[in-house]
Amino acid sequence: MARFLVRRVLLGALVLWLVSLVVFAIFFVDPAGPDALAHRLAGKNATVQMVAQVKHRLGLDQSVPVQYWHFLWGSSQQNGLLKGSLGYSFQNGVSVNSIVKQAFPITLSLAIGAAILWLAMGLLSGILSAVRPRTMLDRTFTGIALFFYSLPTFVLGSLLLLSLYYYLTKYAHLQWFPATGYVNFTDNPGDWARHLVLPWFTLAAVTAAAYTRLTRGSMLDVLGEDYIRTARAKGLPERRVVFRHALRAALTPVVTQFGIDLGTLVGGAIVTEKLFGLPGLGFTAINAIEGQDLPVILGITMLAATAIVVANLLVDVLYAVLDPRVRLH
């Protein structure tokens, strides 16, 4: 177990290092990159000197390996990635750490609510479908799942805004759901939830549909196994067979998927955050991209990649805990 963990952590670190190389190279190796960037940041009417100044201040005049070293380890003025600093914004000099710290609770609020929602919806409908295959109930759930599975997030979000925000307000005069914005949980938990209901559902729907399909398939596989027949034959109540015997084994692929999906959410809620004006990590990243604020993009990308790698690692460990047949090596 210990050897497995060490190996996996080292591999994860290697992957992250390579990701940082790739991401960095994309931005800085293109010869037109930094120059064009300095021009843009200095403004349209900037003189040659001003551009050079901007270039120097941002460290863009140094060679790429030196810049990468500064990004990774740090320079005399500032710490690098390995010392826990994600760098400083080109636009206003604010540390990326503090930007992330501000945006993270919002993404977390969105992610947790959505994850609970999709787990509940996906597992429940998937299990019910599998226990009563080919019934009306199964067909209904399967159909609904297929529908939401095919509905792109941004389409669902837009249609929810049109119907549940705009039409509900206009025709029924019910202001249940605000269109955009975020309220801190600590300020007003009720408002916090009201602002997040539509985003939660928007973010959760596609994944919930995928989980319905995954859970149903996995449950049906397990329910067809011999040990389930044995459990039934020895007279156990069906409820116990389904929940104690079948569900535990059927959950393994769902848990794997859940870890991966949760890890992806850190950088993957861009569409939902943009649509509903939630200033989380994705929203911040897309603004940074529009403003060519490379350190912010780099920082958030690295953070998101780390989340994915860590989630994968946790899933592998959890896998062994859930399923004793898995041997770690």
Binding site: L11, L14, V15, L16, L18, V19, V22, V23, I26, F27, D30, G33, A130, P133, R134, D138, L146, F147, Y149, S150, L151, P152, T153, F154, V155, S158, L159, L161, L162, Y166, R216, G217, L220, D221, G224, T264, V266, G267, G268, I270, V271, K274, G282, A285, I286, I289, E290, Q292, I297, I300, T301, A304, A305, I308, V309, N312
Partner: protein, 321 residues
């Protein structure tokens, strides 16, 4: 699904006339797994209907100019007087504009028809490139093993660890977004999952006797990989490809929606939906009709993809479920 499942799905055990009387006995004929899959697919009504819908969408895409000539509205033509209200807002569906107009007074129906071209083209081409790269990588990793396998597996790990949307947006912001860039970005990010599937299949196939026999007869690695192994990986590959097309179509629409995909004035569904964001309160048709076009397309591909999967992989849960 493994190759073994498909291979073992021989006619006799699957649906052969075992236990059929003497008059049925002469019907025994060897049917290849491909033939069986095709017959199953043909009997799947939902899959066949969705296939017809896909053909219909393809026809709309091919004959998009026909929509322009029937309505008499060009795809990029802005009808400032008849296509917009006196306040400059989009006009609703009417005899003139069947599905209404957009914020610039352009015909939504004609633009949806032209948008089908982009969606299908990028969806199919990017998927094809993805599958081609993934197949070659997976074959190489699985067949050669050792250092080749390590390098490719590590590459796959990296690709899977990079947050797709974030990275795609950064890429598109550096290079001028265009159809070409969108296709490249989508292919770069999707091949890894194809490669993983192919690699897994190859690992089990390469130890089979017939591969050993081919090697003994002096076949080179390329011949073994593409002539001997590849055909046995095709079934899962086809299933995956069919299900990848709608994913790619959604990814393209999402990039265009975020403004880093297909650029104006090219008609594109994702972009139309993005443009409609500021107008949905006064022009629901501008949001709803492109959304429907996208939904119908992905739904048709997903139902068809499910049908193809069931046809190749008739597991108990699907047959009885």
């Amino acid at each position: 699904m493994t190759i073994g499942d498909i291979v073992s799905a021989t006619p006799v055990s699957e649906e052969g006339p075992l236990g059929v009387g003497p008059e049925g006995a002469k019907k025994i004929e060897g049917r290849s797994p491909w033939r069986l899959a095709w017959e199953r697919l043909r009997r799947d009504r939902a899959a066949m209907i969705s296939f017809a819908v896909i053909i219909l969408i393809a026809l709309v895409a091919i004959f998009a100019p026909l929509f322009a000539s029937i309505t008499g509205h060009g795809v990029d033509t802005q009808y400032n007087t008849i296509g917009r209200t006196p306040d400059g807002l989009p006009v609703g569906p009417s005899g003139k504009f069947w599905l209404g107009t957009d914020d610039l007074g352009r015909d939504v129906l004609v633009r949806i028809a032209y948008g089908a071209r982009i969606s299908l083209f990028i969806g199919v081409v990017a998927t094809a490139i993805t599958v081609a790269i993934g197949t070659v990588m997976g074959l190489a990793a699985g067949y050669f093993g050792k250092i080749v396998d390590t390098v490719i597996t590590r590459l796959i790990d990296i690709m899977l660890a990079i947050p797709f949307l974030l990275f795609a947006i950064s890429l598109a912001s550096i290079f001028q977004p265009s159809i070409k860039i969108v296709i490249i970005v989508l292919s770069i990010f999707s091949w890894s999952s194809v490669a993983r599937i192919v690699r897994g299949q190859v690992l089990s196939i390469r130890e089979r006797e017939y591969v050993e026999a081919a090697r003994a007869m002096g076949a080179g690695p390329w011949r073994i990989m593409f002539i001997d192994i590849l055909p046995n990986v095709l079934a899962p590959l086809i299933v995956y490809t069919t299900l990848l097309i709608p994913v790619t179509i959604v990814a393209e629409a999402t990039l265009s929606f975020l403004g880093v995909g297909v650029q104006a004035p090219t008609a594109d569904w994702g972009q139309m939906i993005a443009e409609s964001q500021n107008y949905y309160e006064v022009a629901w048709w501008f949001l709803v009709f492109p959304s429907l076009a996208l939904l119908i397309t992905t739904l048709a591909f997903n139902i068809f993809g499910d049908g193809v999967r069931d046809a190749f992989d008739p597991r108990a849960d699907r047959l009885f479920g």
